[in-house]
């Protein structure tokens, strides 16, 4: 019995630590801005949606969220298409050196993004793609490829070998086999990889910071970072923007946590 | 060193599932007692309760008359051999054997002496430096035994320790276990689903089903005089025949007859039941003969020494001595006199 109380207390502390800062953001976003400016650390006396209103009307936040959504969805789609094909080839087709390719993908994923941002910036400038959403979609898809391929490779490898053989016997070309027979059981893996890619694209900061300059293509993380004014920091608006920025993520984590966990574990070699 | 174990009214619930229901058991000190029954009958749970690895929902456990509540397995001075052996994979055989003694904070010289003595007894000497994954199944099993023995506990609790071994090894280890029991003299409580194992090893067996002990006694006695249809069919191979009232001669009862007690006679006799042989299984020293008699399938065992039994398709008379028939209540399955 005493043990259960100890565990319960420990769990409560952990949850408080994990969710506390976010809950505080939420509370702050719901307070009237004047109150926030006056005493940011007090408990709310009144509730108001003024901060949210300010975020959307005084800044082009709708546009920014739209940019983020566009970039995240497109890059996820592209990444998953390429990763599924690549994982299928590495796991199920007689490609020479498939283990080397996987090792290469893994090592490449360890490179610091700052190492690639320079040339990508120069190339984007040269191509006139600076400050466009397109400039972000391709790098994001490419950066998420190794992890997505690794996850899907695991799923393809775990399929019974006879499934593919049966499809061959029934007259399928490799791509037909992939589409009709192998893809459906691998769907959870695709979901897991898609979630991770989406979260990565939504949250990515360095490339977005470097490749965008106006609200034409700016994404949510960069926008939030730029909120700080010269003289004062509008904490209420930052909080409101953060709440909006994290809403899709929260929904994903709440509804699809099982896929998320599977993806994370597979991506680190434990799945 | 040994101990008597008494269980009083042990009930164990997991949520809404009842694993053990008011189990009473008295285990004699120094005996080899086997808990035997089909999967899910609760025997492993009962062993865990004795060990202190599970707390009963109600009921009490006594060691030599002392109540055991609140005491962990180490305090109860029992050793446990797991079906999976549960050897510490990161420790060598020596360190696996030494582990319980280290926990008891024995002096190093004593630990060394006892580990080597136990290793010697179980022929593990040359393996002391190896890790478990470099051992064969049989060797791992001996290390698991050794880890229990090195503590010199008052009681050994063994949870299906032989189930993961192949047939020949299992037979060899069975003999080993029996010999060890004689040598050590501690109380052994053994769990298995294999009734042959139970019969050959034990001083007393407790047949379990559905969370209850149906019968407890010496193996031969349980075999000869089952208290329950289930016990009769579970113990003994091939299983006891269970025949309807016309064989038992009493309404509301069924007759239990061991295949060994069914004799085959030429057809046409008046003092038996007529039937047709459907299948003959030659097993070497004996034959198992399946006979259809009025829609009932009856199994008889004949010795090879008596010559070949009638072929399939032949008519026979089944003769059963009155003294070989055990009567059981049709509904409850309990023995009626």
């Amino acid at each position: 019995m005493k043990r259960a109380i100890l565990l319960g207390a420990g769990l409560f502390l952990v949850l408080a630590f994990c969710l506390g800062p976010y809950v505080w953001l939420l509370i702050t976003s719901l307070r009237p801005p004047a109150e926030v400016a006056a005493d940011p650390a007090a408990l709310p006396a009144a509730l108001s949606l003024e901060s949210f209103r300010a975020v959307f009307s005084e800044r082009p936040f709708f546009r920014i969220v739209g940019n983020s959504l566009l970039v995240a969805i497109l890059s996820t789609a592209l990444c998953l298409a390429a990763a599924t094909a690549a994982a299928f080839a590495l796991a199920r087709l007689p490609v020479p050196g498939n283990r080397a390719v996987l090792a290469l993908l893994l090592s490449v994923s360890m490179l610091p993004p700052v190492a690639s941002v320079g040339p990508v910036y120069l190339a984007a400038s040269a191509l006139g793609l600076r400050d466009t959403a397109a400039a972000l979609v391709m790098p994001y898809a490419a950066l998420s490829l190794p992890l997505a391929t690794w996850i899907l490779h695991g799923f393809f490898r775990d399929l019974p070998a006879d499934l593919h053989r049966a499809a061959k016997v029934d007259g399928c070309t490799p791509l037909q086999a992939l589409r009709k027979v192998l893809l459906p059981p691998v769907a959870p893996g695709i979901a897991a990889a898609a979630i991770l890619t989406f979260i990565f694209s939504w949250n990515e900061f360095l490339f977005a910071l470097s490749l965008t300059s106006t609200d034409r293509s700016r994404t949510v993380p960069v926008e939030i970072a730029l909120f700080a004014g010269v003289h004062e920091v509008p904490w209420g608006e930052i909080a409101a923007a953060s709440v909006v920025a994290t809403l899709p993520i929260l929904l994903v984590v709440a509804a699809l946590d099982r896929f998320l966990v599977r993806g994370l574990l597979a991506g680190s070699g434990k799945g | 060193m040994t101990t008597g174990i008494r269980l009083e009214g042990i009930t164990k619930r997991f949520g809404s599932a009842v694993a053990l229901e008011r189990v009473d058991l008295e285990i004699e000190p120094g005996s080899f007692t086997t808990l035997v029954g089909p999967s899910g009958c609760g025997k492993s749970t009962l062993l865990n309760v004795i060990a202190g690895l599970e707390e009963p929902t109600s009921g009490r456990v006594f060691f030599d008359g002392e109540p055991a509540e609140g005491k962990g397995p180490a305090e109860r001075d029992v050793a446990f051999v797991f079906q999976s052996y549960a050897l510490y994979p990161h420790l060598t055989v020596y360190e696996n054997l030494a582990f319980p003694l280290r926990m008891a904070k024995r002096p190093r010289a004593e630990i060394d002496a006892r580990v080597r003595e136990t290793a010697e007894k179980l022929e593990l000497g040359p393996l002391l430096g190896r890790k478990p994954r470099a051992l064969s199944g049989g060797q791992q099993q001996r290390v698991a035994l050794g880890r229990a023995m090195v503590r010199r506990p008052k009681a050994f609790l063994l949870d299906e320790p032989l189930s993961n071994l192949d047939a020949t090894l299992r037979l060899a280890m069975r003999a080993e276990l029996k010999r060890l029991h004689r040598e050590i003299g501690a109380t052994f409580v053994f769990v298995t689903h294999d009734q042959t194992e139970a019969m050959s090893l034990s001083d007393s067996i407790a047949v379990m089903n559905g969370g209850r002990i149906l019968q407890h006694g010496d193996p031969l006695g349980v075999w000869r005089d089952p208290d329950d249809v289930f016990v009769g069919r579970f113990i003994g191979s091939p299983p006891m025949n269970v025949l309807p009232a016309r064989f038992s001669g009493r309404e509301g009862t069924v007759a239990g007859v061991r295949p060994q007690d069914v004799r085959l006679a030429p057809p046409g006799r008046a003092d038996g039941h007529s039937g047709t042989v459907t299948l003959v299984e030659p097993l070497g020293p004996e034959f198992h003969v399946r006979v259809d008699s009025g829609g009932e399938e009856i199994v008889a065992v004949t010795a090879a020494a008596d010559g070949a039994p009638p072929e399939a398709g032949s008519a026979v008379t089944l003769v059963i001595a009155a003294g070989a028939i055990r009567l059981f209540d049709e509904k409850t399955g309990r023995r009626v006199v």
Binding site: F88, F205, A245, S268 | -
Partner: protein, 291 residues
């Protein structure tokens, strides 16, 4: 068709399937790396039209550049402290979540929240909580620490935000590692007289070693690349005392437009990470053989 031709056609399809992924990786990871390597050997400032070969001059500069060395030191300190804290906290959380209880799935999802949020939001939130004067942390602790203005405190603020964000992943990996350990081992140890502490240190921890090494490898490489948190929380300040290697490279690229020197910093950090990985992978393979 014959078996050989069939295999060949399968192989062709295989190459086709691999092509997009390999092209993307080549274009956005390998080619940039090669270009950065090339750039690191040049003085390259496109805005001024300067681009000439200077050999290893950039690297020679870095070796005695106090700002580079301090960024290296800052980053190393953050990596050490973060990974150590994440390991300990992650282990505690994993142990808590290792038992089944109702609502465990919700707890596990809740624990993932810090990880799932944009680092920028995490940094903003902690910046808010640690603000001098009105920050909740100061209020609750009853002190008036200048978290973001004092160099010693600022780097620990960075560590705090990073630990908050990254512990969930470490916890998740450690939890997976815990769940692979057979339950019977704990019970055997209990029967052998081991108390909870002995069971943890003598049975659980040794068997968790490969997982711990994997966590340390992934997290240390990740932490070395730290950028978002520093940029948003401290901006590298006060006076570059929390500047990380990645932030320094970024500044060289986009503030002073010295692409050559920035590239040298990038290559240097890649080399450090490669060396560290080699050490960790070596440790991992010996531990796998041993346990």
């Amino acid at each position: 068709m014959s078996r050989a031709r069939f295999l060949e056609s399968e192989r062709r399809v295989g190459f086709l399937c691999l092509a997009p992924a390999l092209l993307a990786v080549a274009a956005f990871s390998l080619a940039p790396l090669a270009i950065v390597l090339w750039l690191s050997l040049r003085r390259h400032m496109p805005v001024f039209g300067i681009s000439r070969f200077v050999g290893l001059d950039n690297y020679a500069y870095l070796v005695s550049d106090p700002r580079f060395l301090s960024s290296l030191g800052n980053t190393a300190y953050v990596v050490l402290a973060s990974v150590a804290l994440e390991l300990v906290l992650g282990l505690l959380v994993a142990l808590l979540l290792d038992r089944s209880f109702s609502g465990r799935r919700i707890a596990r999802a809740a624990v993932l929240v810090p990880w799932a949020f944009p680092t920028v939001v995490a940094a903003s939130a902690w910046g808010f909580l640690l603000s001098p004067g009105f920050g909740v942390v100061n209020r609750v602790l009853g002190i008036d620490a200048n978290w973001l203005g004092d160099p010693w405190l600022a780097i620990h603020a960075v560590i705090l935000a990073d630990v908050w964000k990254s512990t969930p992943l470490a916890a998740l990996l450690l939890l997976a590692g815990l769940q692979v350990i057979p339950r019977d081992l704990g019970r055997a140890a209990l029967v052998d007289g081991a108390g909870a502490a002995a069971r943890f240190f003598r049975v659980t921890l040794p068997l968790l070693r490969p997982t711990i090494l994997v966590v340390v490898l992934f997290r240390s490489l990740d932490a070395f690349r730290i950028f978002d948190v520093v940029y948003v929380l401290t901006g590298g300040g006060p006076a570059n005392t929390t500047e990380s290697v990645s932030l320094y490279a970024y500044r060289l690229y986009f503030q002073t437009l010295q692409f050559g020197t920035g590239s040298a910093v990038s290559i240097a950090s890649c080399l450090v990470m490669a060396a560290w990985s080699a050490v960790m992978v070596g440790l991992l393979s010996t531990s796998r053989r041993g346990a």
